[in-house]
């Protein structure tokens, strides 16, 4: 073949291929996202995980809670700023003195989205079913610990009874986990409930496509929002789409170009980029216990209080927060996170003091070894932390502790191995935080009687304080006991707080009215969107 002919043919072939590509692209231009300029009644939110299950009572995954919160109402609501409990579908409530009986008087105009009314029987059915689900509803079973039964007093009055005092129940009743579902939903099996939960909330589940999206539509005639909501009546937005988008780069890229109105779980590294006037960043610390080193004081070196106290002083929480956390949330400042009611700021006791840490270790007989790690009686000052997330937090801590001559080995394991270690108590320290709205989280973490106990400490005084706060009805008295317990935990170094875990989201400038509830889950009832 002659070169001239061949090259002409070659050019023609390339041209044909190029036209083909062009046609292909031309056919598909309809698929792109549009960015209008007017007020919209649609909200498009990119979320990190597939919710897996949408039954608000069963789920504990943050994304699922954020979605489920829009579907259900709770008996009461809690002001995220003050911690005060206010009416929601229960117009009034009272507890007996030893916190074993809680009486709620319900509004009589509340209906579920399947048009069935919310009655005293419904509330009883909800709690009875949750008690029967047991550990399938892990979080609910802890709020309902010691549940004895619910008594229907009359059509709009119920009395919930417990075998033992349950100080956290009223607060638990404000969470999505004890949100109310219709009689028909409650009667389903646990698996069925996951797919089609029916609540009385401002939004109704339209479609859930696993690993893809959840679409909610606004409820018409919604008149029973809690008094914390600024919008009265129906939600301003008509449709909310949660698009499951695990890749952070796609979420942030989509927010930047307007494909998404809002994204949940903004990576800390992107906070600067979206910190401009064009976008809004939402941040709130998770209530509960911050990401911490949780000790097992049955272990040889961990059992030495001097070591644990030195560890508290040798960790620089401001630096950890700067390196690994959100700039929108303060460094860990106590045993509880700053978003938890009864939070006691212990900044002074937790201040970074390397000299002080070294002195404590010197006094306790831990002397500098040849490789920089301290030793005592031929034993190295080396402990391990077992964790399944937050490796960056632990690495920062490791570097800081090394300056004081403490070796922290990081043992990253799967979630299953982590809880295996919790079950067998086979760890020096656990590296994790625990999210709960009520300060009773301290009892959950530290009390020997708690089913979900992590810390292995033995302190009768603390045990008494934790038990007493759970049965104290007087808020002021309870706060006093909790304050003592927080002080005691730091004094005895039963916890090394590291970082406040935060919920950080971002939206386009035109989105307004996004609120956090007391558990740091988003509420979309008040949201309006301008393009």
């Amino acid at each position: 073949m002659s070169p001239r002919h061949a090259s002409a043919r070659w050019v023609a072939a390339i041209g044909a291929a190029a036209i083909g590509v062009g046609l292909l692209a031309g056919c598909t231009t309809t698929g792109g996202g549009d960015t209008g300029g007017e007020a919209k009644d649609e909200l498009y939110i990119a979320v990190q995980d597939d919710p897996v299950c949408l039954d608000p009572q069963q789920v504990t995954l943050t994304t699922a809670l954020n979605i489920g919160r829009q579907l259900v109402d709770s008996l009461v609501d809690q002001d995220p700023e003050t911690g005060e409990i206010v009416p929601w579908v229960a117009k009034s409530y009272e507890a007996n003195d030893n916190l074993t009986e809680f009486t709620f008087t319900l509004r009589d105009d509340v209906t579920f989205s399947d048009d069935s009314p919310l009655t005293a029987e419904t509330v009883k059915a909800n709690f009875d079913a949750l008690a029967a689900l047991g550990s399938t509803a892990a979080l609910a079973s802890q709020y309902l610990a010691g549940y004895q039964g619910t008594e229907v007093v009359d059509a709009s009055t119920v009395k919930v009874g417990f075998a033992e005092p349950n100080a956290q129940f009223l607060q638990g009743a404000s969470t999505i986990t004890l949100g109310l579902l219709s009689d028909a939903t409650v009667a389903m099996t646990a698996e069925q409930r996951c797919q089609t939960p029916v609540g009385s909330g401002p939004f109704v589940l339209d479609t859930y496509t696993s690993n893809d999206s959840v679409v909610l539509t606004a409820r018409k005639g919604y008149e029973w929002g809690s008094e914390l909501r600024t919008v009265k009546g129906d939600a301003a937005i008509k449709t909310v789409t949660f698009a499951v988008t695990p890749e952070p780069g796609v979420r942030t890229g989509g927010l930047q170009t307007g494909e998404f109105d809002m994204i949940l779980d903004l990576p800390a590294a992107d906070e600067k980029r979206f910190g401009t006037d064009e976008f809004t960043i939402y941040a709130r610390a998770n209530p509960g216990i911050p990401h911490s080193l949780v000790p097992n004081t049955d272990r040889p070196i961990v059992s030495d209080p001097a070591v644990r106290k030195a560890m508290i002083l040798a960790t620089d929480r401001a630096e950890i927060s700067e390196l690994t956390g959100s700039s929108k949330v303060p460094p860990a400042g106590g045993v509880l996170s700053s978003a938890t009611p009864s939070f006691l700021s212990q900044k002074d006791a937790l201040a970074y003091d390397l000299k002080g840490a070294e002195k404590i270790l010197d006094d306790a007989g831990w002397t500098e070894g040849s490789d920089g790690v301290r030793e005592k009686d031929g034993k190295k000052l080396s402990v391990a932390v077992t964790a399944f997330y937050g490796q960056d937090v632990l690495e920062a801590t490791q570097a800081q502790l090394a300056k004081a001559g403490i070796e922290l080995k990081i043992n990253m394991v799967t979630a299953g191995d982590f809880f295996g270690a919790v079950a067998s108590k086979d760890f020096d320290f656990l590296g994790a935080g625990l999210t709960r709205t009520d300060p009773d989280v301290l009892r959950v973490m530290f009390s020997t009687a708690s089913a979900a106990r992590w810390a292995v400490v033995s302190d009768p005084e603390l045990e008494t304080q934790l038990a007493t706060q759970a049965e104290t009805a007087d808020p002021a008295a309870r706060a006093g006991i909790l304050e003592d317990a927080q002080k005691r935990i730091i004094d005895d170094a039963f916890l090394v707080p590291l970082l406040e875990v935060a919920q950080v989201h971002a939206s386009q400038q035109g989105v307004s009215g996004v609120e956090f509830d007391s558990s740091s889950r988003i509420i979309l009832h008040d949201v309006t969107v301008k393009g």
Binding site: M1, P3, A6, S7, R9, W10, A13, I14, A17, L24, T28, T29, T30, G31, G32, G33, A46, D50, V52, T60, L61, G134, S135, A138, L139, S141, Q142, A190, E191, C194, T209, N211, D212, S213, A243, V244, T245, P246, E247, G249, V250, G253, G254, Q256, T257, E259, F388, V413, T414, A415, G416, D417, F418, F419, G420, V422, A423, A432, G433, A452
Partner: protein
């Protein structure tokens, strides 16, 4: 009667082979899952409940019964094998849904992008091979032949993110994620197609240039047959045999490739389900997926075997001859040999 026997004699060993592959896969997966350190039930629960996971021994034992994880490994092996033969893949620990349902729901999504990817890959490989065949200059031909290694070397997640930032975020032509909008399968399919196209191209072009050097092509050129006709009539058929062998292997690659692509593009599919299941150590799901892929693989192998007979009549003849003796053994010729032995 003898015809039935002959068909049985042909299908029987194939079926036995199929069952053997699935059984062996089941056994290996079971051993791996059982003897890996850590508690799969706790792992799956933890992925569902996070910090609220309950480690109460009594509650755990009840759940073990519920998910078919109670008893000694020996008991579990037979129990689960029995379930398998009854067509029951068990229940996912992390989601509580039947594994069979989960696979049935996600498989079509993966097949969609894998199928489109395969078509795109074949087209790209054929077009490139054709261009390389026609390339008027040696340097141009060499350049074209050097491109494919890039296709294999660039990680799929990088290709995916680049495609998203260009076609979705810059041009706004195609959706960046999910499968909600029309055209959402295109970018993931292209991402998946590039490395496959690169592999196919290499096999394809090698076979073409090998055949080009053979006598019958030399004769055709001498007779003045136009290059395009030589390409389609003489070269393509020869190149098909090794390409089809590679295609069989590619199915395995596609299954693995979807894991990355489906995560980057936020698509629901087998690949993403596998990643989630492995992270959660959801052993019932892992086992179900591996068995399903093993079955697909064995089936594709069978089809490739049959396709040889269609494409190359000689293998069909030797196949018939073989079926009277040791049925099914060594019927598939080595692709290299086939391309070299084409008569002029």
């Amino acid at each position: 009667m003898s015809a039935v026997l002959r068909v049985l004699g042909y299908i029987g060993p194939k079926l036995a082979q199929f069952v053997f592959v699935v059984l062996a896969t089941y056994t290996v997966v079971f051993l791996l899952i059982t003897f890996l350190p850590g508690d799969p039930l706790l792992a799956a629960l933890a992925s569902k409940s996070g910090g609220d996971t309950i480690v109460d021994p009594e509650a755990l034992e009840k759940l073990r019964q519920q998910y078919g994880l109670a008893g000694t490994p020996w008991d579990q092996y037979w129990h689960r094998l029995g379930m398998l033969f009854a067509g029951d893949l068990g229940v996912s620990i992390a989601t509580g849904r039947p594994v069979g349902d989960m696979i049935a729901r996600t498989l079509p999504n993966s097949v969609e992008i894998a199928g489109i990817a395969l078509v795109i890959a074949i087209v790209i490989a054929a077009v490139f091979a054709f261009l390389a065949f026609l390339a008027p200059f040696r340097w141009l031909r060499n350049l074209l032949l050097q491109i494919p290694p890039f296709g294999v070397a660039i990680p799929a997640f990088l290709t995916g993110l680049l495609l998203i930032s260009f076609f979705s975020f810059t041009l706004g032509w195609l959706p960046s994620s999910g499968s909600r909008q029309p055209g959402s399968a295109i970018l993931p399919a292209v991402t998946l197609a590039l490395p496959v196209a690169a592999i196919l191209f290499q096999v394809f072009s090698a076979a073409i240039f090998e055949a080009q050097a053979s006598q019958h092509v030399f004769t055709a050129v001498a007779k003045g047959v136009p290059p395009r006709r030589i390409f389609t009539a003489h070269l393509l058929r020869n190149a098909l045999l090794p390409t089809i062998t590679i295609l069989g292997l590619t199915i395995g690659y596609l299954a693995a490739g979807t894991a990355v692509v489906e995560t980057v593009f936020s698509r629901d599919g087998i690949g993403r389900m596998t990643v989630n299941a492995v992270l959660a150590r959801d052993i019932n799901v892992i086992q179900g997926i591996v068995l399903m892929i093993a079955a697909v693989y064995a089936a594709v192998n069978l089809i490739v075997d049959l396709a040889y007979g269609v494409i190359d009549p000689r293998t069909r003849r030797s196949g018939r001859a073989g079926s009277s003796g040791r049925a099914g053994r060594n019927r598939r010729p080595r692709p290299q040999a086939a391309t070299q032995e084409v008569p002029a």
